[in-house]
């Protein structure tokens, strides 16, 4: 596929945004500014950006306990995203959700779902609605390598398959579910092999190559929009950080980690841009500086924003009754 330099720089900018935001979040967490827990997607940016770049705003994604990359790639606004992590009422979920539940339906992202596998049937149901209404939108379920062992994966993917629903099952295989290597929990070489059970296409791709991810997603999205049903995409990647901010990753062999750091998508893509003459180092540096100061400004505003009023804790439990 021919990409313009502008396209390529945009892929890079999106990945870099996620990278820089997450690096900053990690500091805020360690300082105690972010409450709760924090699951970062450092090293997995190409999956989020590659897939979401193939989507329209009206397409809908579901995500997991590790949703930051997906949220930013799908267009959740940085201010509302950061504010949510800080538990502010200006957050995209008004501070009710937090780091594991960010989302904004106006940008096509449901509140992300922290029960492993829990979002898979929900994305499938969104796709069901699209199909019933004859809309050509697609739904995308992001989930980790750990999610495929859950029964709900099986139930949902099978229904997506038998009804030819417009849905992509993106398995972000970062090798580990918490501390557990995926090879412990399957007899398959690759998790895309699960597609054989559902009679749908399954592909394994280099999830650290943003263009490969983008192109694969595009093909699957076209299939889905054309009424030809779901695709399982296994994107091989690596979590170059802990499962959460408290995890020293001692279960990862050192050479595996080193190799993964070599392969991490942001640096890799940067090298490609430089090598192929799409950008000078100075331009990339400027892009980074710009992003960093944008992020700083957003954090400052978010920090100054009010926390939710405890009196308001009771709101939003029920929708108001509809007049009959």
């Amino acid at each position: 596929m021919p990409y313009s330099t502008a396209d390529l720089l945009e892929f890079h900018r999106r990945m870099l945004l996620i990278r820089k935001v997450e690096e900053r979040l990690s500091q805020l967490f360690l300082e105690g500014t972010i409450p709760g827990t924090l699951h970062q997607s450092l090293g997995q940016e190409a999956v989020a950006v590659g897939v979401c770049s193939a989507l329209r705003e009206t397409d809908v994604i579901t995500s997991t306990h590790r949703p930051h990359g997906h949220a930013l790639a799908k267009g959740v606004s940085l201010p509302s995203f950061i504010a949510e992590l800080l538990g502010k009422s200006s957050g995209c979920c008004k501070g009710r959700g937090g780091s594991m539940h960010v989302g904004d339906i106006t940008k096509g992202m449901l509140p992300s779902i922290a029960i492993v596998g829990g979002g898979i049937p929900i994305a499938t149901g969104v796709a069901l609605a699209f199909k019933r209404r004859r809309e050509d939108h697609v739904a995308v379920s992001f989930s980790g390598d750990g999610s495929v062992a859950e029964g709900i994966f099986h139930e949902a993917v099978n229904m997506g398959a038998i009804w030819d629903l417009p849905v992509l099952y993106v398995i972000e295989n970062n090798r580990y579910a918490a501390s557990t290597h995926y090879s412990r929990n399957t007899k398959l070489e690759q998790l895309s092999g699960l597609s054989a059970a559902y009679g749908i296409p399954g592909v394994t791709i280099d999830g650290n190559d943003v263009l490969e991810v983008y192109e694969t997603a595009q093909t699957a999205v076209e299939r889905a929009r054309a009424g030809q049903g779901p695709t399982i995409i296994e994107a091989m990647t690596y979590r170059i950080t802990g499962h959460n901010r408290r995890d020293p990753c001692n279960y990862m062999p050192e050479d595996e980690r080193d190799q993964a750091l070599e392969q991490e998508p942001v640096k890799r893509f940067e090298e490609v841009l430089l090598r192929d003459g799409h950008a000078e180092a100075s331009l990339l540096a400027a892009m980074q500086t710009e992003l960093e100061s944008e992020i700083e400004a957003v954090i400052e505003t978010a920090l100054a924003a009010p926390a939710p009023d405890p009196e308001e804790a009771f709101r939003y439990v029920y929708a108001e009754p509809v007049e009959s």
Binding site: V60, G91, C92, C93, K94, G95, R96, G97, H101, G103, D104, I105, T106, L110, P111, I113, I115, G118, I120, P121, I122, A123, T124, G125, V126, A127, L128, A129, F130, R132, R133, A139, G151, I152, H154, E155, A156, N158, M159, I162, R315, Y316, V317, Y318, A319, E320, P321, V322, S324
Partner: protein, 339 residues
């Protein structure tokens, strides 16, 4: 006006709502297979022709089906899920409680999940896994509404209200009250049919009803137990004890004012519930009323419920499990005897 049993009344409700709003659709196992049964209790029987497009037969995958329902509801549709037997809800608790009930809150009020789950309850000779009353597990879950219609009028009216409601709703229906001849048919001696108006109507969610007025003791009960409470009240009347039978019709939200007014008058309360006594919905009613109305009570609140055992198969054992009219009468007599 026509007189209908619960199964056909529900069917009419579904027909009306599916006609009114094309976003309404039904999902479930065996609900619209040609030559099939219209669900285990015939509620969707004969709908396949007109509503081919609004009926989805699912695989046996309760959690997944409800998950798909949630997704569809989030995207603006109004799914009605048929559970065959409510016992299978245990397979889908995560989707219902962790997702359907919470997504509105988690999204800061930006989303809603207009999902209705229909789930038959009650012990009917099928042993421990097709017999439970599941109301207790959903009542008190923030974000959910819980309905328990005891008559065909309420079944239809609550169904229609639930379909139009923007919240996730679980409606429990009692197998012995359907009056259907479905493949899971179980004959109850109780007639729950009603005169059903020809016009569109709903029964508002959260409004109970006085099934029988009386000044001596209040009996609160739902579903099959409501009918047993009425039978008990009739017998009690012959002994000069006037029981007021309250059918809350919905357990969440619960019509506290109606019950409180009744207890203010009678100063005695009996709660009748099918299902183990410990931790049943009746516990909340007793605790809550006790907390607020202790001074008006002349006697302790009594709960008539099943013993704390799984539902046994043999009819003799099942009869010992299911609360009966005799027990209700005895509870009332003992309360009145206390003064």
């Amino acid at each position: 006006m026509k007189k209908l049993a619960i199964a056909p009344a529900l069917r009419d409700g579904l027909i009306e709502e599916m006609r009114r709003d094309k976003n309404v659709f039904c999902m479930g196992e065996d609900i619209s297979i040609p030559g099939g049964w219209g669900g285990v209790f015939t509620v969707t029987l004969g709908l396949e022709e007109e509503f081919r497009d609004q009926l989805i037969d699912t695989p046996i995958a309760e959690a997944g089906s409800i998950g798909l329902g949630i997704g569809a509801a989030l995207a603006g549709l109004r799914p009605v899920l048929d559970m065959q037997y409510s016992d299978f809800l245990f397979l889908a608790m995560d989707q219902i409680i962790n997702h359907a009930a919470k997504l509105r809150y988690m999204s800061g009020g930006t989303l809603s999940v207009p999902l209705l789950i229909r789930a038959p309850v009650g012990a009917t000779g099928r042993g421990a896994q097709h017999a439970q009353n599941m109301e207790r597990f959903f009542t008190g879950v923030p974000g959910l509404k819980v309905l328990c219609p005891a008559t065909a009028y309420d079944a239809k009216g609550l169904l229609k209200a639930a379909i139009r409601d923007d919240n996730p709703v679980v409606m429990f229906e009692h197998k012995l009250l359907y009056g259907s001849k479905g493949i899971g048919a179980a004959t109850g001696e109780v007639d729950a049919s009603s005169e059903i108006p020809d016009e569109d109507f709903i029964v508002p969610i959260g409004k109970g009803i006085i099934r029988r007025p009386g000044g001596d003791v209040t009996i609160v009960a739902t579903l099959l137990m409501m009918h047993l409470a009425l039978a008990a009240a009739r017998e009690l009347a012959s002994q000069g004890i006037e029981a007021e039978v309250i059918d809350p019709r919905t357990l969440a939200p619960f019509d506290w004012p109606l019950l409180e007014q009744s207890v203010e008058k009678t100063s005695r309360l009996i709660i009748v519930e099918e299902g183990p006594k410990t931790g049943g919905w009746g516990a909340e009613v007793a605790a809550s009323l006790g907390e607020r109305m202790m001074e008006c009570l002349t006697a302790p609140i009594q709960r008539v419920a099943s013993p704390d055992i799984p539902v046994p198969f043999a009819p003799e054992l099942e009869n010992a499990y299911r609360p009966n009219v005799r027990q209700i009468i005895q509870a009332a007599e003992s309360l009145v005897a206390l003064g």
